[in-house]
């Protein structure tokens, strides 16, 4: 079982997060679970594609896949590899989680998927070659592109992501300080003139006092 396990099922954005999304439907379509109008010409319940045959096909596929995959149980992932895996995305494109904590919700097996495991195995191999964490991450970026990052790198365009929040705070603070200074120097509103003015001013003052002493 290679990518099949990953893309099948309801895998999209942490599984259910995008449960309403079109991609979940497409994943379902791909897995044969959903047969909307488009697939009616090849109905899922056609006699040529029975459930038993599908299962048999899947099992045959799995056996073939197992034959050429080095089988490693869960315990084989070293804690160090898992730790580094937390900084690498699971590249199955189905779960949106990190390789280190891929739980693949919604799938038949909600543990680390094969892609995540393969990534961790690769990390283990790199660790065996005495590569540093940064070198390993760089190697993965070279292989998959910048999509493998879990958080933007603090260099290049990724730095923009990190500067943005600081920029907002600085600009926001500047605006607040400016506004406070401007408002503290604002002259009080001129008293209204006219025959009923004194009473009106007094009423307004009273209303204001009422409002401001409420709490």
């Amino acid at each position: 079982m290679t990518k099949n396990n990953c893309s099948a099922g309801l895998s999209r954005g942490l599984g259910g997060r995008d449960v309403f999304g079109r991609e979940a439907r497409h994943a379902l379509l791909a897995s044969g679970a959903l047969a909307p109008e488009e697939t009616l010409f090849f109905p899922a319940h056609s006699p040529y594609f029975t459930r038993a045959k599908r299962v048999a096909f899947l099992m045959a596929f799995c056996t073939l896949a197992l034959l050429h995959l080095s089988v490693l149980p869960l315990s084989a992932q070293s804690p160090r590899a898992k730790q580094i895996g937390m900084h690498l995305k699971c590249m199955c494109r189905g779960c949106d989680m990190t390789a280190g904590n891929c739980a693949h919700p919604g799938g038949a097996f909600s543990g680390p998927c094969d892609t995540a495991k393969a990534e961790l195995r690769e990390v283990d191999e790199m660790l065996a070659k005495n590569m540093t964490e940064q070198q390993i991450i760089d190697a993965f970026v070279a292989k998959y592109g910048s999509i493998v990052y879990v958080e933007p790198p603090k260099k290049g365009f990724g730095l923009v992501a990190w500067i943005m929040p600081i920029f907002y705070v600085v600009v926001g603070l500047a605006v607040v300080v400016y506004v406070v200074r401007k408002w503290t120097h604002r002259p009080p509103p001129p008293p209204p003139v006219g025959p009923g003015a004194p009473n009106e001013t007094l009423d307004r003052a009273r209303a204001q006092v009422d409002r401001e002493t409420e709490d």
């Binding site: 739980a103 919700p105 009422d210």
Partner: protein
């Protein structure tokens, strides 16, 4: 029934257009009959939308598998409970559901104010009809839920086609929370349309004073409450169903629901500035505009998948429609603002940097920064692809690093803000108000540190939580003491009386208290631990103070699914505490997709969260994944307090009953004994 539903949806569209055009004509001519007819068209629109929704539900309940939407989201064995929820399981239905919830608000507004605010209501009606037209366009012409199945027969002619059974509801949605989470969240999204409509209407009509704020205050609170509840229920659903051990993953769809909540919360606070001091009028109008736009943007992000994947955008028909609607709304807002901006002049001046006013400014600053930071982080992958043709993903660690400091600053203001006086706060009152909370907070943080909770952010957060909690306690205590002294009530009764006299203020404190609990829960995340093991029957694994022993496994067959169940014994200090039953459910009609049922042993101290991950595909042994999540329960408890606080704030103020001094023995006397008690209005409260 499908023709009937389809027709009522179309008729609703026609009515909405009439309400819009007729409303504009009514504003121009000021003809009372035209005003009335536009309003009634608005009401008819709502009624027709309800009818269409009823038809969809009817089709679900009658298992009508000639309907494409029913086939995709239901099957015969689906329980009644989930057939209701199937309405919002897919694109077409959820957009219809959006219209329905909006209609509930619109109808309530039109009926509640039918004889009031004659100057303003025609404008409100037009804005609301405009929003309804947009969603009805989608319902009718883009994502119509009343599509039937068709097949090509031997003669090459299309003919109707009925399936024997449907594909079933998405297994992830077959969970009680999924029945109540979307309605709550959508009620939040749609609810902000009402303050938006009133703000825009007041601006267009140049409606004098702060009336629109008074009118919409309760509507905003209702929407806010639904939004908060919706977000928390969604988090709980993610926690209990997805089985990855967390409740918030900074996923684009989650972020989309948080954005309007942040600006909405800012709005709820900044309107107080306008009510009390006549300031920030322009700001408030724009804040409510932004909240509405973010609601639409949130719906758009959720529904179109533009952020989750580059390909989803091309697949979705509705992306361009939403972009168009957002652009039109922005233009309308800008134009009406520039034409009428002179009407929004601020009245008062600010006296001091250390005052309630400036604390509101900082509160708004932080909420806005939080909102823009989340928004830009969510959209950053899209930007990075535009600028560098290289998609850089932004995951949870980024958001955690950015949002934790902002969240803590907000928590700090939660404690400080309400105790600063309007205009100017003296150093003396600062000492009086904050002395004890600071001391209690520091002592509490120190005890936690000694007890072994050692993480800088988490400790700071817990310190602030205790600090804020103590400021709230002191506020209630001070107020209650005065009432108790005057009336001879017990302190508890006096605190209750106090809250009822100024529901908005004390309801606000209760909401703040709820948020403190939520923050306590989030602080626990720093100490999360987990372990995963492929276990044979009889194997055990250790996690924190617990030992998990896999006792046995069984299979249970239900009507709609088959579950593989692991029976896990939980031991603490070699004593059995309980049995946990994590499950994996295989739903009918779906091949690969399976539902996870997490088993949680939840205490105030921590959650033991056990997932049966399935058979390890490599060694064919059940894999148990256990998480130890401290303090998570506090988040859900906080949610309950937030809702209770909002409900309190929605209640009208009780007038104070003043008991004449010296008549304390008469305190328990029933109300309405005029000889001893004189009913005097002490304060009008806020309303």
């Amino acid at each position: 029934m499908d023709v009937f539903g389809s027709f009522s949806l179309l008729l609703a569209f026609v009515c909405a257009v009439y309400a819009f055009v007729g409303g504009i004509a009514a504003i121009r001519t000021r003809h009372p009959l035209l005003v009335k007819s536009a309003r009634q068209a608005g009401m008819a629109t709502c009624a027709l939308i309800f009818l269409a929704t009823f038809c969809v539900e009817y089709l679900f309940f009658t298992d009508n598998f000639s309907m494409a939407y029913v086939v995709s989201h239901s099957n015969r064995d689906l329980s009644t409970f989930y057939k209701i929820a199937a309405l919002w399981a897919g694109q077409e239905g959820s957009l219809l559901f959006w219209s329905t919830l909006l209609s509930i608000y619109v109808l309530s507004v039109l009926i509640a104010y039918r004889n009031k605010n004659g100057e303003l209501m025609p404008y409100v009606g037009v804005v609301l009809a405009g929003v309804q037209i947009f969603f009805l366009t989608l319902n009718n012409f883009v994502e119509n839920p009343f599509k039937t199945l068709a097949t090509v027969n031997a003669a090459g002619v299309l003919e109707p086609f009925t399936r024997l059974d449907g594909n079933g509801l998405n297994p992830l949605l077959q969970y009680p929370e999924m029945v109540i989470h979307p309605p709550n969240l959508y009620s939040g999204y749609t609810g902000f349309t009402i303050p938006f409509a009133f703000a825009l209407a007041a601006l267009l009509a140049r409606y004098p004073g702060e009336k629109w704020i008074h009118l919409t205050r309760k509507w905003t609170m209702v929407a806010w409450c639904f939004q908060s509840l919706g977000i928390l229920l969604g988090a709980h659903w993610a926690y209990a169903v997805l089985g990855w051990g967390g409740y918030w993953g900074w996923d684009p769809v989650e972020n989309a629901s948080l954005l309007p909540w942040l600006t909405g919360t800012a709005f709820l606070h900044s309107v107080m500035m306008q009510e009390k001091r006549g300031m920030m009028k322009v700001w408030n109008v724009w804040l409510v505009f932004c909240t509405f736009l973010l609601c639409i943007l949130g719906t758009f992000l959720t529904r179109s998948g533009v952020v989750s994947s580059v390909h989803a955008f091309a697949n979705s028909h509705i992306g361009p429609w939403f972009v168009g609607f957002i652009c039109i709304t922005i233009i309308v807002c800008f134009v009406s603002y520039f034409l009428n901006r002179d009407y929004l002049k601020s009245e008062n001046q600010l006296d001091s940097m250390i005052s309630r006013e400036s604390s509101f400014l900082f509160n708004n600053l932080l909420f806005l920064v939080a909102c823009i930071a989340v928004l830009s982080g969510t959209l950053f992958p899209v930007f990075s692809e535009w600028f560098t043709s290289n998609r850089i993903s932004v995951g949870a660690p980024f958001f955690n690093k950015v949002m934790i400091p902002i969240g803590l600053a907000l928590l700090f203001l939660t404690g400080v803000g309400p105790l600063l006086a309007w205009r100017k706060t003296s150093a003396d009152s600062l000492k009086r108000n904050f002395g004890w909370p600071l001391i209690v907070g520091l002592v509490g943080a120190f005890i936690l540190y000694v007890a072994g909770y050692r993480d800088p952010f988490s400790n700071l957060c817990l310190f602030l939580c205790i600090f804020v909690f103590w400021t709230i306690v002191e506020e209630f205590y001070r107020g209650a003491k005065v009432i108790a002294a005057r009336t001879g009530m017990s302190m508890m009764m006096a605190a209750h009386e106090l809250s009822m006299r100024n529901t908005r203020r004390y309801g606000g404190y209760v909401v703040h208290f709820g948020m403190v609990l939520v923050f306590v829960g989030m602080a626990g995340a720093a100490f999360n631990a987990d372990a995963q093991k492929a276990m044979n029957i009889g194997d055990s694994m250790k996690l924190g103070p617990y030992t998990l022993l896999l006792q046995s496994a069984d299979t249970k067959v239900e009507k709609n699914y088959t579950a593989q169940r692991m029976i896990v014994e939980v031991l603490k200090d070699n004593k059995q505490i309980m049995l946990l039953y994590p499950e994996k459910r295989q739903f009918q009609g779906t091949e690969q997709a399976a539902g996870t049922m997490v088993a949680i042993y939840s205490t105030l101290r921590e959650d033991l969260y056990v997932v049966y991950a399935g058979m390890d595909p490599e060694v064919n042994v059940p894999v148990i994944h256990a998480f130890l999540n401290p303090l998570v329960k506090w988040i859900w408890l906080g949610g309950v307090w937030v809702v209770m606080g909002t409900l309190l704030a929605l209640m009208p103020n009780r007038r104070a009953t003043l008991v004449i001094a010296g008549a304390t023995e008469a305190a328990p006397a029933p109300p309405g004994t005029p000889a001893l008690t004189s009913t005097t209005t002490l304060r009008e409260g806020h309303d």
